[in-house]
Symmetry: C2
Subunit: 236 residues, 2 copies
């Protein structure tokens, strides 16, 4: 087991890790990377992650679907928001979506020196693990967090990946050990566990419980979304 | 409960937190903050934390005790290393010790804007919690980590403090929730839990198992070490 798997608990911590030559898995469970997986699964040609509504707006009138939310509401003039339910086959097949996501975009931008940047969520957990196992590279699981702080939901997903792959990769990193233990604590009822998280509370106030439930579903997608020339596309 | 307690899992994450007006508890369980608590408890007049052996050496010949290790060995010409067993009454009473500690010094330097910087370890856990509860300020528990990465032992201690104070402070921060859950997982046998940590493995290679056992003892110290004019002294 010469391959290593590590967990980085916030994009702010990235300078402490080796990125070059590694596969970085970007994780932003509520809701960016879940929506990306679902959109690519449903035939979106590509998804372009941007940090701000203004940047998203600069793609207006050029044939893209624009997705932006502020305070849980679709921004006026945009096609839809960040809910995974906006990324159905009917809406996204054959289209390119420009998605506003502060935390996820920041995490991707911090990882640009990686050999490959792929997108992880509970929706594609098993497909992702199978794919990672088939590569020969070291893996860094990068939690996007909330405004650069540690968050529970991204850490639980990192823990699920560590748990699945731990017999295939070496994992000496304390963050990997902690993530796995937290996942094992929470796995029988992720939603119940997350009720105590701060971010879950914030999301509840936005009235998107259905989104949260959906983002915690496991293995309904088989795609591996990958960053290619600034766009996220299916790896296949 | 208008007071808040937060946990910062690495000094690198400090820019994401409010420091001003808060009490920061610096945590570096293996072994800097444990040795500091024990030394102050045993009557050291003050302890000056420095980052490098070279900086420590600059205090040579000025009446200080110099403590520095490289690779687990006392550096030639220094009085002792970083083992808490060097901080006995016989050795440190009435003296000022200059202590080399990379992670701990870095954490302190990142917190200089705090209202007050105090030192925490399992050795003074209850005394610290009682003192924190008697103040009216928000608290940030700062894990020094290992080379700026998350580590288990500092997180477990943060979790112990959160667990003790959670009915006295609000704690919305996901890192506080995670730390407490990890502490609850590990508390019945901290040493056994830490056997799987990377840092514990490194320390084992340094042959300092006695130090580790000692740093996990709870409540053998009643002091609150506090930073004052660059020196750590007893708060009383």
């Amino acid at each position: 087991m010469s391959r290593e798997i590590e967990v980085c608990l916030s994009p702010t911590l990235i300078p402490n890790y080796i990125i070059e030559g590694r596969i970085v898995v970007v994780i932003d469970i509520f809701r960016a990377t879940s929506s990306i997986c679902y959109g690519i699964e449903n035939g979106a040609e590509s998804i372009i992650p941007v940090a701000t509504v203004e940047e998203c707006l600069s793609y207006n009138g050029k044939g893209y679907l624009l997705a932006a939310e502020r305070n849980g509401e679709v921004v006026e003039g945009f096609d839809f928001g960040n809910s995974p339910f906006s990324y159905t086959k009917e809406k996204v097949e054959g289209k390119t979506v420009v998605l506003t996501t502060t935390n996820g975009t920041h995490a991707i931008n911090q990882s640009l020196k990686a050999k490959q940047i792929v997108i992880g969520s509970f929706l594609n957990l098993n497909a992702l693990c199978t794919w990672l196992d088939a590569q020969s590279d070291d893996v860094l699981l990068l939690c996007s967090g909330w405004k650069n702080k540690f968050n529970l939901e991204d850490t639980l997903f990192a823990g699920a990946v560590v748990h699945t792959l731990k017999n295939k990769f070496s994992h000496h990193c304390d963050a990997a050990i902690a993530s796995e233990d937290m996942y094992l604590l929470a796995k029988d009822n992720l939603r119940a566990y997350l009720h105590k998280s701060s971010h879950s509370q914030r999301l509840k106030e936005l009235n998107i419980e259905d989104d949260i439930q959906f983002c915690l579903k496991q293995n309904i997608c088989s795609v591996i979304p990958v960053l290619k020339d600034g766009k996220i596309v299916s790896i296949c």
